[in-house]
Amino acid sequence: MADYRTALGRARGLGSAKHGVGHFIGQRVSAVALIVLALWGVWSALSIAASGYDGARQWLGEPVNAALLVLLALAGFYHVRIGTGVIIEDYIHRPATKATLLIANTFVCLAGAALTAICLLKVAFAGGPS
């Protein structure tokens, strides 16, 4: 017997179309990266906490430090954007409020990631204290 439903009509309500796990995997991959990056970040914070402006710039002038701190910020904002999105979806049920918060969350995380990365790179490329 002929099935007159469209492909979309047949697929609706049946779950993932193979893209639904993207966030799930991304959240876990960034989590694994962040275990290492955050531990390094705490250790680094301890080592430069007392070094002041010039010390901090000198520390960021080291390519490995700059690369790892940029990665920490990018992975962090990526991870926190997904996590916060899930919390908003779980607890905010008014569609307009939910959409507004989800978009605001995305904008804050993208702005934070871009601003942090550019500031860190600006200092890193300046090469040591100015």
Binding site: D3, A31, V32, L46, Y53, L115, T116, C119, V123
Partner: protein, 135 residues
């Protein structure tokens, strides 16, 4: 004959605090979300630090002074606790995703372990800061 549209299957609902009996695993679960929000704030503090460092010595000095004030230290200590708890509890989540650690007794022990690790690691880091003369 045109078939009628299949009904959407009932979707699972997220857990709500008021329907759960208090338990250590419940506390760990809700605190995972709360500490995640705390780390959101922590990332924004890091963004502010990067901006201050790129803006020059005066701005950096003012920002560092803000972080070194008593309220600043309280916030940074809270972020440290959030980080270590979220990290330890995140490892529990990664284990569950691999199908491990679901037995109630195991889940209880690992939840307590996450709390213990968070407390010990956060206090340890701040003791190190004090020993280094930063506090």
């Amino acid at each position: 004959m045109v078939e009628s549209k299949p009904a959407l299957r009932a979707r699972p609902l997220s857990p709500r605090l008021e329907v759960w009996r208090w338990h250590i695993t419940l506390a760990a679960s809700i605190l995972h979300r709360l500490t995640g929000m705390g780390l959101y704030a922590g990332l924004l503090i890091l963004a502010g630090w990067a901006l201050a460092l790129a803006s020059g010595p005066d701005t950096y000095g003012a920002y560092a002074g803000l972080l070194a004030s008593v309220p600043g230290k309280i916030v940074l200590f809270a972020v440290t606790v959030c980080l270590f708890f979220h990290m330890a509890n995140g490892v529990r989540h990664l284990a569950w995703d691999s199908g491990l650690g679901f037995k109630p007794a195991t889940a209880d022990v690992t939840a307590w372990a996450a709390f213990a690790f968070a407390a010990a690691a956060a206090v340890g880091v701040w003791v190190l800061l004090a020993v280094n003369g930063v506090l």
